[in-house]
Symmetry: C2
Subunit: 201 residues, 2 copies
């Protein structure tokens, strides 16, 4: 089994949309896991540093040209890059992933990108609202009936979410990946969603 | 006025604890700000890439040796590095910041680090629980009466928070920084805390 989870990052990516998943994969509460089930790897158009919306520069592990053909999951991280021409290079990567039955995640503008390329037409899904999906998707988006008004939706190994749903997005992907027991995944979610003080008051 | 917000990152830093603050500083909902009030800069022990808990490698803007002497705020990002010897190099940086009346933020293990060095003794504060602060702080932590059981606490320009409180931590720092109106800061907080679907249902 391939252990790598690949995160697709474009310039001006939304860092908050990947951190909870990546941390749950790599660590327990107080330390890095000694034998993590998965390893997160970060993919950008080239190997030069890619800047997040928040301004930090991330050094990619792979470029679009050097990323492996096999992996455990493909995660499209949202941000402002999905309206730029470089995003179109991701379409064939996603097509390949879906054809192979890989776990695919797409959050925020990356979910709208999925609509634009017709990848949401056979599954229940969500995103940054039905209006944004329709605007981005135009004639390629034919499944407004499959839109669900939820923070995150998991169907047929594809998880979609809106940009405020990073914790729900992480939870659904962690469940698909069987990263941990459902109970422990739920606890991780609630701990971060409600917060330490409210969870244990 | 100096515009730079400096984030102190040690190896195995917790990426989720910095992203919301950095994104609110740099962007509005749909685009990067044209004239942001502040700019986030990321500081690590050296200029070589520093790895987050989640596994991404961040290219620092400054090292401890090259960071500027003046800045708008100093933010200590939590993670597993605060128990290692390199953390002690941060003590003089924090001492300097507090003496100059700078805005200082410390979240998760970085709040415990503040206790260890006696920086919480004159302020109301919180952190990863009173027990952890007492264990890390030993005889240098003499202000358990000042501990508040809240997600984040802001007092005398110092904001402390527990590791599940990244949104509350960001909110209190954004208020101190007057990054935006209190109403807009609250909206940013609620949008991400409750989530798009629950906020507008």
């Amino acid at each position: 089994m391939n252990k790598e989870i690949l995160y697709i990052l474009l310039p001006d990516f939304a860092g908050h949309e990947m951190v909870y998943l990546a941390e749950a994969v790599a660590s327990d509460e107080y330390a890095l896991k000694e034998n993590p089930k998965y390893v997160s790897k970060f993919v950008a158009p080239t190997l030069t540093p890619v800047k997040s919306i928040g301004g930090f520069r991330l050094l990619p592990d792979y470029s679009f040209d050097t990323m492996p053909d096999d992996y455990a999951a493909l995660v499209l991280v949202g941000g402002f890059g999905w309206t730029t021409p470089i995003a179109d290079k991701v379409a064939s990567i996603v097509k390949h992933a879906i054809e192979k039955g890989k776990i695919v995640g797409a959050i925020c503008n990356a979910a709208s990108f999925m609509a634009k390329h017709g990848f949401l037409n056979n599954i229940k899904h969500t995103g940054n609202g039905i209006e944004q999906l329709s605007i981005w998707g135009r004639e390629n988006y034919t499944n407004s009936n499959g839109y669900v008004n939820a923070q995150a939706v998991s169907d047929a190994s594809i998880v979609t979410a809106n940009g405020s749903a990073t914790l729900e997005f992480a939870k659904e992907l962690l469940l698909l990946l069987k990263n941990d027991t459902p109970e422990r995944i739920e606890m991780y979610y609630q701990f971060n969603k409600q917060g330490f003080c409210d969870l244990f008051k």
